[in-house]
Structure formats: C-alpha cells, structure tokens
C-alpha cells in the first residue's frame, strides 16, 4: 500500500500553484526559483513549449537512502522518501549519487542541510493528498495509490496514443519510482534523464558491502597464516643456528 503522484505534462498549464502550495505547506522561504534548490522543492519549467514539473521521484528502492552513512534519508511505508536534518553530517553523497539529481544543498549556510521534496509525508500519513496535488487546477498532478496511478497512466496512453510518448517515466527508472510522469514529447527533450538504469542502483554497492564479513574472516585467516608460516621458518632457522653454535 504505497502512494505516489502521476504528473501529466500534457495537462499542465504551468500556473505554478504546486510550487506555491509546496512553499507554504513545507514552510520554505520565498521566492520560487527557476529550478529546484534546497529552498524550492518543486518548480514547473517550460522546455521548448512543453511544461515539466521538477520534484523528487521517490524511488521504490532509493539510491539516496542507501548511500546515506547516517540513515538521515528513509523510505517510509507510505511511499515518501523523507529526510531527517538532525542526523545529516553533510557528506553530500546523496546529491552526488541520486540518478535524478534531486537532493540540493544549502551552500549559502554555515550550518547547512539538504533540501528535497518529501511528498508531504506528514499530510500523507494523515491520509491527505500532497499539497501540490490538492491545488492543481487541471489535474495534471494526481495523487493516489501507485498501482492505481500506473493503471491510469496506461489508460491515458491507450486512449490517446497520438498525444503521448508510449512510456510511463518512473515505471522502471531506477527500479521504479513513486512519482510517475507522462509526456507528449520525448522525455529527454523535457530535460529528464533517460540513461537511468532500470535496476535499483543500491544493488551495485550492496553486492560488495554484503561480502565484507566473509572477506574479513577469510583475509584475516590468510594473513595470520602467512605470518605463522614465515615466523615459524625464522624460528627454525634461529634454532638451528643456535644448535650449530653449541656443537662447535
């Protein structure tokens, strides 16, 4: 049971109500900037005539959650990827690793934290839709259960195959995301990354990390063994030398 958003670029009029509502609900300082920053978690950009919303995709298996050394980023059961600023040490691995380039940093602060869309986790936990979805005048941003949203997205493509690119962005990107997007123009022309692997990225590092205990025990035993053999060889040599000395 996890929720998400379906953003339909063809229905978006670019009014920016989503950005304004986001600022208000999440207590973010004005102004609404051109692109997302640590203080502006969502914007609508007009790219070559088409509108596209920028926000966190809330991966099903998030890269940021896996790379954070102190567990400041977590994926909640309801779907949002949330951030606990009080844990963050500021290593910025999440910013470096996110395949969608979502987390942003407060570069201008002496005590900085990360900023990113948290899918209105507080509202969602209370059964409310996200602020952006609740104010969208055209239904371009739709809140609901992810499964239902996937069905809706496919239905829209099937009903109007000429109006849409035949792909639901977020269905498989990075192993799937809670936020899905539909577009009438190729996704790369909207500025979305289309080279994102289809597999969850955390597997790439977990494959190595999960082997550490076995590695440490085998490598430790091997090193001790080498030490044992070479030391024994030295001891024997010293012993034999001493014996030869005695016989003389």
């Amino acid at each position: 049971m996890s929720v998400g958003l379906l953003y339909d670029s063809t229905r978006c009029v670019g009014c920016g109500a989503c950005s304004a509502a986001c600022k208000e609900v999440n207590d973010l300082p004005p102004p609404i900037e051109e692109s997302t920053t640590a203080y502006t978690w969502t914007v609508v950009q007009n790219v070559g005539g088409a509108n596209v919303r920028r926000l966190c995709f809330h991966c099903l298996d998030p890269t940021c959650v896996s790379v954070c050394p102190v567990g400041a980023l977590q994926k909640t059961a309801e779907g949002p990827v949330v951030y606990d600023a009080s844990r963050c040490i500021g290593c910025r691995y999440c910013i470096m690793a996110c395949p969608f380039g979502v987390p942003k940093y407060q570069w201008d602060q002496p005590v900085p934290v990360v900023g990113k869309c948290i899918l209105c986790a507080g509202r969602v936990a209370r059964g409310l839709p996200t602020a952006c979805a609740s104010v969208c005048p055209t239904g371009a941003t739709l809140f609901g259960e992810r499964e239902a949203l996937v069905g809706e997205a496919r239905l829209r493509i099937a009903r109007a195959p000429d109006a849409y690119v035949d792909h639901v962005y977020g269905l498989t990107e990075a192993g799937g995301t809670s936020v899905l997007m539909l577009s009438g123009v190729p996704f790369e022309s909207l500025g979305l990354r289309t080279n994102v692997p289809k597999q969850p990225l955390p597997l790439l590092t977990w494959r190595i990390l999960s082997e550490i205990p076995s590695f440490v025990s085998v490598w430790g035993a091997f090193l001790f063994g080498i030490h044992w053999i070479t030391k024994r060889r030295d001891d024997v040599r010293a012993f034999e030398a001493a014996q030869r000395e005695q016989r003389r």
Binding site: V67, G90, I95
Partner: protein
C-alpha cells in the same frame, strides 16, 4: 637523548620552501575562518550539480591512497617477516599516520556539519559505502596511532607501555592490513553507484580492486619519495638496497593495475573514447602515461632502478599519475554527466596545499623530536 645532532641541525633551515609553506598556512588560516562563518558556497566552486570537488578528490581520495605505504610496509615486515625492511617502517608509518590525520582535517572542511562526524558511530547504515569509509577512517587512524606509539614511548622511555604495545604488534598489523584493504577499496566502491554518471574510461565494477592495487603502487612510490626527501632534508643516506626491491614491488603493483585497466577498457568498449581522444580521452592518456606506462618502463631498466635519481623520478611520476587518476575519477569523469565544468576556487586549492604543507611540517617536527629513523645517521662531513 642521544639522537644525532645532524638531524636537528639539518631541519632548522629557513629556505624558499619553508617560507612558501608558511605563506600557504597563513592563507589557509584565513580561508578556514571564511569556510566556517560563510559556508561552503562562499569558499568553494561546488554546486548542486557538482557536490564533490577538490577536497574529496585530493584531500580524501589521495590522502588515504598515498598513506598506503604504511600497511604495505608493515605487512612486508611483520606478516611476511622480511625484517631487513625494518629501517623504513617507522618513517612510512609516520607518513601514513600524518596522511590519515590530514584526511580527517580535510573532512572537517568538506563535511557540511563536521561537528556531527560522530553520528556515523551512532546512526548506522551498513548499506552505505560512506558508512564503511567512516568506520575505516576512524579504526585505521587508531591502528596507525598505535603502530606509531612505540616511537613516542621510546622517546619518553616508557618501557613498560612500549613492551605492552609490542605484544600486540601482530594482531595490530593484521588488523591494519584488513582495514586498509577495506578502506582503499571502499573509496573506489563509492563510485559503483553512479554507473550512468562516471565516464566509462573510469567506471568499472572492478573499481574497488583497482583503487586498492593502485594505492599499493602509489604507497610504495611515496615511501621512495619520502626516503629521497629525508636524504635531502636530514642528511640521510638513501637506502638503495631496500628501495630497489621495493621498486620492483611497485612495478608488479602498477603492472597488474595497468594491464587490468587496459583489459577492462578494451572489453567494455570504452576504448572508443580514445579514437580520437576527446577531453576525457586525453586526460586518461595523460594519467595512464604519467602514472603507469612511464614509471613501469623506467623501473624495468635495472640501471634506472638502482640509480637514486632514476628511482626517485619514477616514484614521483607514479605518485603524480595516482593523483591524476583520483582527480579524474572524482572530477573529470563526472563533468559530462553533471553538465558543468568544475575548477576548484583558489580557496579550495589553498586548503589542499595547506594540508600538504602541514604534512611536511609535521613530518619534519616528528623527525626532529622523535626517533623516527632508528639508526644514527651517517654524518656526511657536512
């Protein structure tokens, strides 16, 4: 104290380099104030598109890598029991310890909230490579401090404590080698999670192994360089009988590393980026030529290997190539995906240079006041 007076005299010159270091350290102090009052944006050219720059690429990745001589040498002497290398263990462990301490100082500049560095001890995420890195930095710095401690204990004649440390030498060295293996490789693992961002000339699932092997090569290179500099600064003789076999070890490490990289690049098809070479291609060729091809070529010639100048030049090239490699992984290879060029600000450069200057200064101080070089230096009639 019967420590040779020649070393003490030799260390108190105020020449060009000393003045240069002093100037760097003054600027370093100024940048430090700005960094902690105005934030990262005021002093660095980092951005949301390019969140890791020189301080990660040089201070951390190179600092750790160039400290690899310590685990290599302690393993050679205490695990393989090749006791004749004992005389160069102490300066190498000192280099390693200083390297790690400076990495920690570097981290204090780079982390957004360094005063929370202890969070890694309390809030665990074993799925994070950075979590592994944090633990390795802490534990191995502790191991290096213990490995270095006999030198301090000897100086202050704390015989009983020194004997106590001596009894745990073997587990300490084995622990140090395990931690180093993990740490060196984990710095490569950091980049495993960005297959779509890091340029194919550098990205490979074998990055952790490549980082480990190249660090062994560069670590030996640093040991040779550090012997050469000690000869210059403290009137030491170059231990050619020890450095020459070490150089052969370096050839093996660099050779294995070089062949592996060639195989990986050819098999993955990344070699296409060299026909013709673009920006990344040229940077790779420069790194690989300076850091692998030329030093291996030089050191394969016995006349070069046994000649102090030839040996030092080859070691210097290997170390430079290593630094280029780490900067290529962390900067050059990430630029195309970021869509921006990153050039460090002069303040970032100042901090990095300041750390290097601090390293040289602390090394000189340690040599003056502690028995780092075990046998008395031969006075060369100076």
């Amino acid at each position: 104290m019967t420590y040779p007076a020649a070393i003490r005299r030799g260390a108190v010159r105020m020449g060009f380099w000393e003045a240069f270091c002093a100037a760097i350290l003054v600027a370093f102090a100024g940048v430090t104030v700005l960094r902690f009052t105005r934030g990262l944006g005021a002093v660095t050219n980092l951005s949301d598109r390019f969140p890791w720059g020189l301080w990660v690429g040089f201070d951390v990745l190179c600092g750790v890598g160039l400290a690899a001589g310590a685990f290599t040498l302690t393993a050679i002497v205490h695990i393989f029991n090749l006791r004749r290398f004992e005389p160069i263990v102490r300066p190498t462990v000192l280099t390693g310890l200083l390297g790690y301490l400076l990495v920690i100082v570097g981290l204090f500049f780079d982390l957004g909230q360094p005063w929370r560095i202890w969070h890694a001890l309390v809030f665990w995420n074993p799925h994070s490579v950075m979590f592994e890195v944090a633990w390795c930095v802490m534990l191995y710095t502790a191991v290096l401090a213990l490995e270095f401690s006999p030198i301090v204990l000897e100086r202050f004649r704390l015989e009983r404590l020194r004997r106590l440390v001596r009894t745990i030498t073997t587990p300490l060295v084995i622990g140090g080698v395990i931690l180093s293996t993990l740490h060196q490789s984990s710095l490569g693992s950091l980049y495993l999670i960005v297959p779509e961002k890091l340029h194919p000339l550098w990205y490979t699932p074998l990055l952790p192994f490549l980082f480990l092997v190249s660090a062994v090569g560069a670590g030996i290179g640093m040991t040779i360089l550090e012997s050469y500099l000690s000869e210059r600064a403290f009137g030491r003789r170059l231990e050619m009988d020890l450095l020459e076999p070490l150089a052969r070890g370096m050839v093996v490490a660099l050779g294995v590393y070089g062949l592996l990289r060639i195989i990986i690049i050819v098999k993955s098809g990344a070699v296409a980026a060299l026909r013709p070479p673009g920006y990344e291609g040229w940077m790779f060729l420069l790194e690989f030529g300076v850091g692998v091809i030329i030093p291996v070529g030089l050191l394969l010639v016995e006349r070069v290997r046994t000649n102090p100048t030839g040996l030092t030049v080859a070691a210097l090239l290997a170390v430079l190539g290593f630094v280029m490699n780490r900067l290529n992984v962390s900067v050059t290879g990430m630029e195309a995906a970021a869509g921006v060029r990153y050039v460090p600000s002069w303040m970032e450069v100042t901090v990095s240079l300041g750390l290097v200057a601090l390293g040289f200064g602390l090394f000189a101080l340690a040599v003056r006041y502690l028995p780092v070089f075990p046998e008395p230096t031969a006075d060369r009639g100076a």
